[in-house]
Symmetry: C2
Amino acid sequence: MIDVQKQTICVPIIKINDNGIANTNDTIVKEDRVNIYLNGSKIISTMCILKDQDFHSIGFLMSEGVIENVDDIKDIEISKDGLNVYINAKINDDNISNLFHEKTLTSGCCVGVSANFEGKIIEKFLSQKVEFHLEQIRHYISEFQKNTDLFSNTGCTHKAMLFCDDKSFLSEDIGRHNAIDKVLGKAQILKIDTSKSLLIVSGRLSMEMVIKCAMHNVPVVISNAATTALGIKSAQNLGITLIGFARNGNMNIYTHGNRIILPQG
Amino acid sequence: MIDVQKQTICVPIIKINDNGIANTNDTIVKEDRVNIYLNGSKIISTMCILKDQDFHSIGFLMSEGVIENVDDIKDIEISKDGLNVYINAKINDDNISNLFHEKTLTSGCCVGVSANFEGKIIEKFLSQKVEFHLEQIRHYISEFQKNTDLFSNTGCTHKAMLFCDDKSFLSEDIGRHNAIDKVLGKAQILKIDTSKSLLIVSGRLSMEMVIKCAMHNVPVVISNAATTALGIKSAQNLGITLIGFARNGNMNIYTHGNRIILPQG
């Protein structure tokens, strides 16, 4: 259950709508700068909502290939104010230097992804034969479409939901990248078998989202929004089923549709 | 006029909608990695649509405070393939080191902004007394709401429009940060007096968007979407009028509403 109070502020606004002009209050999502420390060194700061910082940090570091296996994590500690995450883990130092060797602002503009991507991910291909019936996917999408308290109150958050067997895990953040890292990090820490899972996200699917799925072995990713040319190319190359514009019962299957069981006739 | 052909690709998809299941084609926006070189050194790469790369580069470098005045630009050249932008300009070397001294992934997740922001912008305050009638703003918003060919074809782009007197300038990109940098860079190169202008953007207004406005002396920024707590705080501190959820005739005025002339009674 999200503590909306803690993650939002209330501000006075002038509201102009069909009822006229009114001085009222509005609920606004609150972001903070969280610092991630790995083995005593600050790796990066990220603007995000103060929730699931541990999942977020692990998800991000594994998405970036800095931590290669959840079992390599020795301990995680979040400071009392929630602004610092301290992780001790076994890592390959090259992975950290890769993280920022190429400064690329991607569409959403996560720096670093492309570095480890070009360094290693490009060889990866998710070959698992997991299949989902169209009706099952439609059910997952309808679950995804239920608004959270935080979104209902602010209209300013992205969401990611991971579905695995009969379980589902939800994360949200001001950043679509963060929401995905949070839910994937949570799955890693809970030792969920993501190789059989399906991820649904809000916001567009650009290359870096697809790469996060590959890094966490998630074979199917679905968005309510569009995808880009590199999103499709990377999904094709990485063996990921990519579905876009998933709204109500409708959707576009862009890559590896063999994992979707369509009704006959 | 946007060359939709050049900025999109056509891919085969499985389309599932009320009409059933069909194999068809879909138009997808195409992003490329553009490298920005300043005085012979590569500053950064950015994933974007291959359009207005010169405006984009200048807008970004001025948003980041690396180039402080458009008159400091000696020359700009775009490589034939459109993937490299070469700029020669008078700069303060500290501004470049600031650009990446703090690695922060913001909500959208533009790295670097916060560095120069904390270094200098925080002292800035836009005090211009420019005013806009509500009906004028509603007219600008209705202009903004007209879809571009690229968005109509792909549903995957963000847009930024700058309104100044009777002129308007439009840019779009896969990234909302890029769209803003492109339109502001265009205004700088065309020597538009942005201190009397109004910017309307798609996508949420987080701190870094507000900072871009401050760097380019744009006093009023409007979004069809939400804003964040730091978006409001920075707009308050920087003297920027921030309006969100601007849809049809409705809007929320969050900060410095004194620039908006509301109808009496």
